[in-house]
């Protein structure tokens, strides 16, 4: 526990730099990344990330120092160049965009690697640490770096804040944005510059190969929790900052561990948790909803069967054995028992000895299901031209689904009919 308190007291200035630096880098990348994601340019971000390497090396060769300002300028230039190359190739040749991205990415990176190895062998003492750009150096950030990254991050945030509504509109409907006279081309140019800038400082944290992760993954995770872009940007930056913090902590307790990859693992974990657990959009919550629906279907089917038995004997409140119910419509016996107990708890049936009896509510709900079933069958035969012997299965689904509004609409459309295509009576709620 000691390490935990040591770490979070932030008394060590080095820890302070690393934590603030890592969180700043990941959060600002995540914010810009949200728009990269929404503009469906995730892989373009990846290409830029790889393409800044030669720029960094060039910046170093020309300036002879590792001053971040020079390196950033160099990176910015080649980052932009790579984008221009992708766009040129896609527009002017028969090469498709994905191929152009992959090609530019690997070629720029290859050239960067050659330059890096040449620099390393040149014997220039200042070069040591340049290869940090490959995998990031979040754990080795110092105060001087923070000044530069802080400034860039502020510029990024300011631009995003200023152009928030334009970026959002463009992501949603470019043609419309054009039609209302927005300077689409120029706004895109600004966004692209922001991506390049975010990449240039982000690679300090995780390196070129994993850069795409801190750009895209927070946004992808955030997408599962909200439909609003502003909330999404906020969530993405929180996810990003948290993974930066976690990465810094992990490399604090295990110094041999690379910070960048851990940041990525943390943010990926958040993303996968989101994919599965997020309410509404998450895979698991969708499964839970499915189960709930299936349960409702089972409930209503049993009520329907009890109602139909009542129709046959002209008495809806006779007690029925489970065998009676199964005889009318086959259910696996344990399922039926479970469903009946659930219905009893909900007040739709009562248990009398070993038999079951509909309550007033149960009768009315069973009646509604039967009514919708028969109305839908009638609708399908009269309005949709479907043969009477094919409408039953559809009605079996729709009877559980129809909202009261659609039910009323259906009754009105069919003019309150009394019999279905199979000459069964369509029951309406009668005033008792």
């Amino acid at each position: 526990m000691n390490t935990l308190t040591d770490f979070f007291s932030f008394s060590d200035p080095n820890i302070r730099f690393v934590v603030i630096g890592a969180m700043l880098l990941t959060a600002s990348s995540a914010i810009v990344g949200t728009f990269t994601f929404l503009h469906k340019k995730s892989l373009v971000g990846d290409a830029i990330a790889h393409a800044v390497l030669p720029g960094i090396c060039l910046g170093f060769i020309l300036s002879g120092t590792k001053n971040p300002a020079y390196l950033i300028i160099g990176a910015f230039i080649t980052g932009w160049l790579s984008l221009a190359a992708v766009e040129f190739i896609t527009r002017r040749t028969r090469i498709k965009e994905d191929t152009a991205i992959g090609l530019v990415l690997s070629v720029f990176f290859g050239i960067g690697i050659v330059m890096l190895t040449v620099i390393q062998k040149s014997g220039n003492a200042a070069q040591s640490g340049l290869d940090h750009f490959l995998f990031g150096k979040a754990a080795a950030l110092v105060g001087e770096d923070l000044m530069v990254f802080g400034t860039v991050a502020v510029i990024l945030l300011f631009c995003v804040f200023l152009l928030f509504k334009e970026f959002s509109l463009l992501a949603f409907d470019k043609a419309y944005a054009q039609s209302i006279g927005l300077p689409v081309r120029r706004i895109e140019l600004v966004l692209t510059s922001l991506i390049v800038l975010a990449v240039v400082i982000g690679i300090q944290a995780v390196g070129v190969v994993l850069m795409a992760a801190i750009l895209i993954t927070p946004a992808a995770a955030a997408r599962f929790w909200t439909h609003r872009i502003s909330v999404m940007v906020l969530l993405a930056s929180l996810f990003g900052a948290f993974s930066g913090l976690a990465g810094a902590y992990i490399s604090y307790i295990a110094p041999a561990m690379p910070t960048g990859p851990w940041i990525v693992i943390v943010i990926s974990t958040i993303a996968f948790i989101s994919f599965f657990l997020a309410p509404r959009r998450g895979v698991i919550s969708r499964m839970i909803r499915q189960r709930a629906i299936r349960r409702t279907i089972n409930n209503e089917n049993v009520l329907k069967t009890l109602y139909q038995l009542g129709e046959e004997s002209k008495n809806f409140f006779l007690p029925r054995t489970e065998a009676d119910i199964i005889h009318k419509r086959s259910y696996p016996s344990p399922l039926l028992t479970a469903v009946l107990h659930r219905l009893r708890r909900q007040g739709y049936v009562e248990r009398i000895g070993t038999t079951w009896q509909l309550t007033e509510e149960g009768m009315s709900r069973g009646q509604r299901v039967v009514r919708i079933h028969r109305l839908w069958e009638l609708y399908l035969t009269t309005h949709v031209n479907i043969a009477p012997d094919h409408v039953h299965d559809d009605a079996d689904t729709i009877e559980h689904l129809l909202t009261p509004e659609l039910e009323t609409e259906l009754e009105r459309l069919l003019n309150y009919p009394t019999v279905d295509p199979h000459q069964a009576e369509i029951p309406y709620k009668k005033p008792v």
Binding site: I297, N385, I386, V391, D393, D394, L401, L402, T403
Partner: protein
């Protein structure tokens, strides 16, 4: 509702429902089509015309129902069916010649590992001749006009030497001469007892082109011989107004992630 077909139908579609993302785009379609006829599928945009032929060929999963061709399940008669997809569905920048594409029609007959033989080339060339493209056999497909692309696809379908042909908008974006040539060819095919099913857009030409029509708008409106089926009333029903309730319910199924057709046992074939 639909006239009885006395002989074995070329195609029987029974209670077919197809859903995208759970929303039904075709509701309970029942059809029987006779052999040796030129059959048009018509209906407004989004009526499910392409979906119907894709589902029939087993390219899309069915939510319900089954399809039989010549009274057989589709997988038993794959080599008797042929498909002409929409022209835009492929990348015409693909490095291939007209001949290469037409030879693809022979792949189903050849089976795994077997290579294309001279006999296949002869068939392919013969098919190219039928569509008036023999001069273009070695032309790169990226250099073809829209009409020539369509003829190439048609030749590929012919090279399959099938009995039933599904064509997805073969007249879209082709010139008048090509359209005339194609329709002549299709009529000749039906005279040779081939069944040709065509997704079609242009209502003006329906009565000139087709023996039968299928009128579709997410549900089957009518299906039968053109002269008795292609009526003002059926047209009104096909094109005039959507069934709002039906599409509302479809949207509801998708929104609620509803398990469509739970517990329906698949019909045993």
């Amino acid at each position: 509702m639909q006239p009885e077909i006395t002989t074995t139908p070329a195609l029987e579609v029974h209670d077919l429902t197809v859903a995208f993302d759970r929303k039904p785009v075709l509701w309970n379609i029942d059809l029987k089509l006779p052999a040796g006829k030129l059959i048009g599928i018509i209906g407004p945009n989004g009526a499910g015309k392409s979906t119907l032929i894709k589902a029939t060929m087993g390219l899309l999963p069915l939510s319900s129902g089954y399809v039989r061709l010549y009274d057989q399940p589709i997988d038993n008669v794959r080599n008797r069916i042929s498909y002409v997809p929409q022209r835009e569905s492929v990348d015409w920048d693909f490095p291939a010649s007209v001949m290469d594409v037409v030879l693809m029609g022979r792949y189903g007959k050849l089976g795994l590992f077997r290579r294309v033989r001279q006999a296949d080339r002869d068939v392919a060339l013969d098919c190219l001749r039928k569509v008036g493209m023999e001069a273009y056999a070695n032309r790169q497909i990226s250099q073809l006009s829209g009409g020539q692309q369509q003829r190439t696809f048609l030749a590929r379908a012919l090279a399959q030497q099938a009995d039933i042909y599904f064509m997805d908008e073969p007249f879209a974006g082709v010139d008048a001469a090509t359209e005339k040539a194609i329709i002549g060819l299709l009529q000749a095919m039906t005279e040779a007892q081939k069944t040709v099913i065509v997704v079609h857009h242009d209502l003006q030409s329906v009565t000139h082109y087709f023996d039968w029509v299928i009128m579709l708008n997410t549900r089957l409106v009518a299906c039968g011989p053109t002269e008795t089926t292609f009526t003002q009333q059926n047209l009104q029903e096909t094109y005039g107004g959507k069934l709002t309730l039906l599409s509302d319910v479809g949207d509801l199924i998708r929104r609620e992630n509803f398990p469509n057709r739970e517990g329906v046992s698949k019909p045993v074939l």
